[in-house]
């Protein structure tokens, strides 16, 4: 299992567009990808769940990646966060 933390920088937080892109990115991998904001948890492959976390700017997310391709997935998803959020 891999894990990293990321503080959301985007002014609008994890709103529809990046949430959609994140779901697409997570769906590329077999590993289970879970977001945890402290208050709520969500499966990163489910857009409604991700959006309804209501993650705003400044929130620290703990992202865990678990599965056979977790190394590649963790790297790609961490990069995704840095570039889009």
């Amino acid at each position: 299992m891999k894990e990293f933390k990321y503080v959301v920088q985007d002014e609008l937080g994890l709103h529809a567009r990046p949430a959609g892109l994140l779901v697409k990115e997570a769906a590329k991998y077999k590993s289970a990808v879970t977001l945890d904001s402290g208050a709520k948890k969500a499966d990163a492959k489910r857009i409604m769940a991700v959006m309804s976390m209501g993650v705003k700017k400044g929130v620290e997310l703990t992202v865990t990646i678990d599965g056979e391709d977790e190394d590649a997935a963790a790297e790609a998803i961490e990069n995704f966060f840095k570039e889009n959020l």
Binding site: Q9, D10, E11, L12, H15, A16, R17, G20, V23, K24, D43, K45, R46, I47, M48, A49, M51, S52, G54, K56
Partner: protein, 539 residues
């Protein structure tokens, strides 16, 4: 005549017949079913059909409205395929043995309720997206396809609120204006109306009485009023207002997308001056070819502490991305003189216009300067960024700046952070800079002449002092010769030269600037198209 008030989100005047749009009420029956697998298959088929419809809507929106708005339907596609939504529906069909329409309805309501309960206006607005998808699925399943009612002639549409899919279903040339009881300046309806260039009122205090159908109406997008069955005087006034607006738009529209080039073939880059992220919309609307002056001061003013690198980066990145490859020239911090922020703790000065300001602060407080440069360089990976430095008086300053820029680039490279090719330029706004423009031009990629300060310093007239207005003459030959010399020196050393001060938009001088060989003019976005017209008419 009856007049009702709304909030205008797009100016313009529309005159025509009213049409009250009501959603066909969807009645969803709950039925027991025998074969859940067959019912799930029916739902899956409907889902596929809905995906196809959304793809078409996305294409239509892309064509009629724009790429950004088309993304709404991409989000709808993703929500349609969302596992919670899909599993909620199939689970309900299997366990409760109910019909697919009912399962979609209940699951859609549950999902929408989650969004409605959030403490965020944006997220609450997403409930409408889910309802939109549910209704689409139910309509397909029950064979009552929702479609915009046939409208024989263009109408003013009155509605409670419009889902994005409803708005784009109307034939674009059949809508004169949109007036809704609900909605906000940020609702999809408002955004679409702006993109489609039609007047639009939201939160309008209108009745949705079908008796209004076919009656005359006038929407005044300047005042936010809608006149129902207008009297002759009002109608005549509004027709005149509409005519003037149309003439103006037509003239300007005819210039959109055209190159800014003189009759003899000299190309001038026509850029825009902006002071915040929001101004970009106006830049794009007026077809500016880039941003020639992005004043970064707003990031520093009206707050208690320095903006962080991340804050700045986000703003620069957003602007650069929105400009989609077009040039964005960011001017570094130009604080001091008439723009003060307490946390800078700048000592009181006798003569702040000639005091500790702009690049003088940056070269003294290099950490503040480097934070800004790092933010700009990081954002430069998202498009085409240039940087210019204000209040330059010496080659030594430029060399120091370049040294600091190199440090920033080296740090980013070391940290493996990407950045783009960034042109470096300076503002020419002091007589000193003009006198050594040849030496400065050898150091930089471009000059941008700040005519407001240059005029003040050349004429030794304080521009804040109103009693001197009668002798403050920006057309003074001394100022014009300063500009001429700057352009000549730039060209001799392979740099390009623009004007970003108020004089750039002074159309009495446009011809003169062209004769001098100006390469770029950066003006307030609203002047862009008029100036393009002027340049295209010049020799």
């Amino acid at each position: 005549m009856e007049t009702r008030q709304g909030k205008s989100v797009f100016a313009g005047v529309a005159i025509g017949k009213l049409f009250v749009y009501k959603k066909a009420a969807q009645v969803v029956d709950k039925r027991a079913i025998e074969d859940p697998q067959a019912e799930i298959a029916r739902y899956m088929a409907a889902k596929e059909k809905a995906a196809g419809q959304l793809a078409l809507l996305k294409e239509k929106t892309m064509r009629d409205v724009g790429e950004a708005e088309a993304e709404i339907f991409e989000a709808h596609q993703m929500l349609l395929e969302d596992l919670d939504f899909v599993e909620g529906i199939t689970g309900m069909i299997e366990q409760d043995k109910v019909n697919a329409e009912y399962a979609v309805f209940v699951t859609g309501e549950q999902c929408a309720a989650i969004f409605l309960s959030m403490d965020d206006d944006y997220m609450r607005g997403r409930a409408a997206d889910i309802n939109d998808i549910s209704s689409r699925l139910i309509a397909i399943l029950s064979g009552t396809q929702v479609s915009a009612e046939a409208m024989p002639e263009p109408v003013i549409i009155l509605a409670e609120d419009l889902a994005p899919s409803e708005t784009v279903q109307f034939e674009k040339d059949k809508i004169l204006a949109l007036v809704t009881q609900k909605g906000s300046a940020n609702s999809h309806t408002a955004i679409l109306a702006r993109m489609m260039n039609i007047p639009c009122l939201v939160t309008a205090d209108i009745d949705l009485d079908t008796e209004l159908n076919g009656k005359m109406g006038v929407v005044d997008g300047f005042t936010g009023e809608i006149h129902i069955e207008p009297d002759e005087v009002t109608l005549a006034v509004m027709q005149e207002k509409k005519k003037r607006e149309e003439e103006r738009k037509l003239l300007l529209q005819s210039l959109k997308g055209l190159p800014t080039v003189t009759k003899s073939g000299k190309v001038v880059h026509l850029y825009a001056n902006i002071g915040s992220e929001e101004d970009v919309d106006s830049v794009l609307e007026n077809d500016s070819e880039g941003i020639g002056l992005f004043r970064s001061e707003f990031l520093y003013l009206g707050r208690d502490d320095y903006p962080t690198e991340e804050e700045q980066y986000t703003v620069y990145k957003n602007v650069i991305s929105k400009m989609n490859g077009k040039k964005v020239i960011i001017r570094t911090l130009d604080i001091g003189a008439d723009k003060q922020a307490d946390y800078f703790n700048i000592p009181k000065e006798e003569n702040p216009a000639m005091g500790f300001r702009a690049i003088r602060i940056c070269l003294e407080r290099t950490e503040v300067f480097k934070t800004q440069l790092r933010a700009i360089f990081r954002a430069s990976a998202y498009g085409t960024a240039s940087i210019m430095f204000p209040m330059i008086i010496s080659v030594d300053e430029v060399k120091k700046i370049k040294g600091i820029v190199e440090e920033v680039k080296a740090e980013l490279t070391k940290a493996d952070i990407p950045f783009g090719d960034v042109e470096l330029g300076i503002m020419i706004e002091t007589p000193a800079a003009v006198m050594i423009a040849d030496m400065l031009a050898a150091e930089v990629d471009f000059f941008s002449i700040g005519t407001n300060d240059l005029t003040q310093y050349t004429l030794a007239i304080d521009r804040q002092n109103q009693s001197l207005d009668n002798i403050y003459d920006p057309h003074h030959e001394a100022v014009l010769r300063m500009i001429q010399r700057t352009i000549e020196c730039a060209h001799e050393h392979g740099a390009w030269c623009g004007i970003c001060g108020e004089l750039g938009a002074d159309m009495e001088l446009t011809r003169r600037f062209l004769q001098m060989g100006i390469d770029e003019l950066s003006v307030s976005p609203v002047f862009t198209l008029e100036l393009r017209k002027k340049i295209r008419e010049a020799e």
